[in-house]
């Protein structure tokens, strides 16, 4: 354990930070206080507001309310450059390095050593080598192209870049996610070294055991609010988890029908494997059943969904109503009766510039066509019917879909799969970015579909959603299904335990 830092005035203070996005209050009064030389852990479930908060620290977002103080002085972090000039460096989960440039060029990106526009290569390499040595990684050659480095080395380069700005505060977003076990040990060693030099670290991770090992204090976020500031890192796991889960938001779930005897099996998955992502996944879904996949981002749950849909090649077998689904051919999957509402609504599902009608009918164009010729009147009539049935607002099917709120966009994606009755619906984060009222409506729609006999496979980062909506829950951790149970037999606490706590708890780093 690193020595506890002295109880001095905080280096960074954030007070009452509020950030609104259209339709959502991402942050609703967040406080944070970080002392020089400490490792301050930020905890919270997906959607609790961690990412938004660190983007504000990095100068990428501007808070709508609240103040940020550095050394007791109010500061305005108007741009990423401004944040860097204040000594705040952020290392994102997806490392923002330029693969085609050398290690030294990456480290000094944005503040290159140059005269008359010509980079001073020798000096740059020397500075980079010094920083790398300070991090205990003098063996990384400053001249190598970053794209050739393994993930762990890239992490070091990112860290060297942060130090090159003379950072006083380094924010690390899930730095251990891409690292193997021994590399994590090295990461922790480096963190201890830089904090010993007085640099503060804000550390974000889902792995509670890591936090216990490297952290000094913990701040817990929940639904965009701070629920605990500066707890000691030794706080018992049970307490931390209940802080993360006790929620104010009321979820309204439709009632579950009593499990009705023998319903036919619609989906059967056998030994589905994508090397390095998930392995040997087997389960089945019956008609009228909602099965939820619970797991962390990166646990492989979305990838499992995509593989079932045939959008991602995998070994193993996927059977829909007993017929094999060929991998990599979504057109066949759709013809067999599957539908997918993907995770990234805008990037993966919608034609943003086009009308609601055209978005709804995209997957069933053949239904309105004779020999390829569109019957536009029938198309418009059916889209209008679905807009009404799902209560998409505003109720104008000709409006470009990008002008709709998140919840209504999601309804349009769902409507796409109501054009022709589906056998199996795959829903990936169906309520992401959707406000509370619209959520209840979406839940009701999904349950209604199930009652009509559709099999539903649901992925959600929000455990209450999985527990409230699904009939049966599969818990996914590190690419494997580790637990399966009826939803009524689980509670949020239990699921989070299964999802977050690594099986090899004992493999501690020395």
């Amino acid at each position: 354990m690193p020595a506890s830092p002295p109880d001095t005035a905080p280096l960074l203070t954030m007070r009452g930070i509020v950030k609104r996005f259209p339709g959502v209050r991402a942050l609703d009064g967040v406080d944070l206080e970080v002392r020089a030389g400490e490792v301050h852990c930020l905890l919270g479930q997906n959607g609790a507001g961690k990412s938004t908060l660190i983007k504000i620290l990095a100068g990428a977002h501007q808070p709508d309310e609240g103040e940020v103080l550095l050394d007791g002085e109010p500061v305005r972090l108007a741009t990423p450059t401004a944040a860097m000039r204040q000594g705040i460096a952020t290392i994102y989960q997806e490392l923002d390095l330029v693969d085609g440039l050398s290690v030294a060029e990456n480290i000094l990106l944005g503040h290159e050593r140059a005269s008359f526009g010509f980079t001073r290569r020798g000096e740059s390499n020397r500075i980079a080598a010094d920083l790398l040595r300070r991090l205990g990684h003098g063996e990384i050659p400053p001249g190598t192209e970053v794209g050739r480095l393994p993930p762990a080395a890239k992490q070091i380069v990112s860290m060297a870049r942060a130090l090159s700005h003379d950072a006083r505060l380094i924010v690390m977003d899930e730095p251990s996610a891409a690292l193997a076990h021994d590399e994590v040990a090295n990461l922790f060693r480096i963190i201890r070294e830089i904090t010993a030099q007085g640099v503060a670290v804000v550390y974000i991770s889902h792995r509670l055991e890591e936090i216990r090992e490297i952290g000094d204090r913990i701040t817990v976020l929940k639904d965009g609010r701070t629920v605990a500031v500066g707890l000691p890192a030794t706080t018992p796991t049970g307490r931390v988890v209940s802080l993360m889960t006790g929620r104010d938001v009321e979820y309204v779930f439709p009632p579950r029908p009593a499990p009705s005897g023998e319903r036919p099996e619609v989906l059967r998955v056998e030994g589905l494997t994508v090397p390095g992502v998930f392995s040997d996944v087997s389960f089945s879904v019956r008609a009228g059943e909602i099965v939820g996949l619970a797991g962390l981002v990166g646990s492989g749950r979305s990838e499992i969904l995509e593989a079932v849909y045939g959008a991602r090649r995998a070994s193993g077998r996927v059977l829909l109503d007993g017929r094999a689904v060929p991998p990599g051919r979504t057109a066949v999957s759709v013809r067999l009766g599957m539908g997918l509402a993907p995770e990234e609504r805008k990037a993966q599902a919608l034609l943003l510039d086009q009308s609601v009608t055209r978005n709804i009918t995209l997957a069933g164009l053949g239904r309105y066509a004779r020999a390829g010729w569109m019957d536009r009147r029938r198309e418009a009539a059916e889209a209008a019917r679905l807009v009404e049935a799902l209560d998409i607002r505003p109720p104008d099917p000709r409006r470009p879909v990008k002008t709709l709120s998140g919840g209504n966009q999601q309804k349009a994606v769902l409507a796409r799969w109501l054009v022709e009755p589906r056998r199996l619906l795959l829903l990936d984060e169906p309520t992401r970015g959707v406000d509370v009222g619209a959520r209840a409506e979406l839940y009701a729609v999904v349950r209604r579909l199930a009652d009509e006999g559709v099999a539903v496979l649901l992925v959600s980062s929000e455990v209450p959603e999985v527990l409230g909506l699904a009939d049966r829950v599969l818990v996914v951790r590190e690419g494997r299904i580790v637990h399966e149970a009826p939803a009524v037999e689980l509670d949020e606490h239990r699921v989070l335990d299964l999802v977050m706590v690594s099986t090899n708890e004992e493999s501690h780093v020395d």
């Binding site: 051919r329 979504t330 599902a349 034609l351 086009q354 995209l362 010729w373 536009r376």
Partner: protein
């Protein structure tokens, strides 16, 4: 003939503008050019022979522009159009092909064009090549093949096959037949783009290929067909250029790709795909052709003509960009 303009334009001025302003601007530009023509060359510009020659000139590239519009809306680009047209014209005018008569010559041109287009499409869809590179390779290779087949000589359409040449000499209602061919291709293209599932998929594939794939559209097959369609248009254009020049030659269609792409862009089609219209492209092309005509009538330098065209591309795109910015 804009597509599906909503009835409630007043309530949603933004939609109305997106649908109409580019075309209004393009028509205004054409009118302006006509006024310039009337003012500078009153005795030559508005004559029927001059207008006919503008349309005849526009026909060849016009047919190519229709195919190019599809490819660009579908998120791609086809640099090989001029070269593929040249290859089609050469292949159709070899002695061997000519011995079978005009019908086979036309069939040959169309098949060669479509084949080359499908090769482009295959390389891009299934070979995962970048469209720019695949079609650049085709540009170079098709021209090379055309030179080799013709021995770099211009091949005349033989006396026995003058039926082809009649496309440009026979006039109906004062216009040569090839203008009707052009009009037919535009009409069919418009229908295909706006009234069929193929057109709908084209917008989807160009606008968001991932969404299209996840909605069960076979994006690769569709992409391949788009390039095949562009090749088909090149084959038709080859027939028109044989009719106009009575020759097949490896030098036909030099830099047509640039004119076609420029016309499509001036017409308001997004180079990133997902948005655009056939009518816009054709208006863009007519603007280009009229400018060429005005410069010739006024005896001006062709270099100045190129400068003017370059400026027009820039101005058109800047105006569209401003429209898009104020719209959102």
């Amino acid at each position: 003939m804009t597509e599906a303009t909503p009835t409630s334009v007043a309530r949603r001025p933004f939609l109305g503008r997106i649908g109409e302003v580019p075309h209004v601007g393009l028509v205004a530009a054409l009118v302006l050019l006509a006024i310039v023509g009337l003012a500078t060359r009153p005795e030559n510009f508005a004559t029927s022979s001059n207008l006919v020659s503008i349309l005849a000139l526009a026909s060849t590239i016009g047919v190519i522009t229709v195919g190019m519009t599809f490819v660009i809306i579908g998120g791609g680009i086809d640099l090989s159009v001029g070269a593929v047209m040249a290859l089609s014209s050469v292949w159709a005018t070899t002695l061997a092909t000519q011995s079978y008569g005009p019908v086979v010559m036309i069939l040959c041109a169309v098949l060669v064009g479509t084949g080359a287009g499908l090769v482009n499409g295959f390389l891009i869809s299934y070979g995962r090549m970048v469209p720019f590179i695949a079609t650049l390779a085709m540009l170079v290779a098709a021209r090379g093949l055309a030179q080799r087949m013709s021995g770099q000589r211009t091949q005349l359409v033989q006396q026995a096959n003058t039926a082809i040449v009649e496309l440009s000499t026979t006039r109906v209602l004062g216009l040569p037949l090839l203008v009707y061919v052009f009009a037919l291709v535009v009409a069919l293209g418009w229908i295909l783009l706006n009234r069929t599932t193929f057109g709908r998929r084209t917008y989807a594939v160009g606008g968001n290929p991932e969404a299209a794939r996840l909605a069960g559209i076979d994006v690769r097959r569709h992409t391949m067909l788009l390039y095949g369609l562009s090749g088909l248009c090149c084959g038709i254009a080859a027939v028109l250029i044989m009719a106009r020049t009575t020759t097949g030659s490896s030098t036909h269609g030099d830099l047509y790709e640039l004119d076609a792409i420029a016309a499509v862009i001036i017409g308001g089609t997004l180079l990133s795909g997902g948005r655009g219209t056939i009518i816009g492209s054709i208006l863009g092309l007519l603007i280009f052709t009229v400018i060429t005509n005005l410069f010739i009538l006024n005896g001006l330098n062709t270099s100045d003509q190129l400068i003017a065209k370059g400026l027009i591309i820039v101005v058109a795109v800047l105006m569209q960009r401003r429209g898009a910015l104020t719209g959102t």
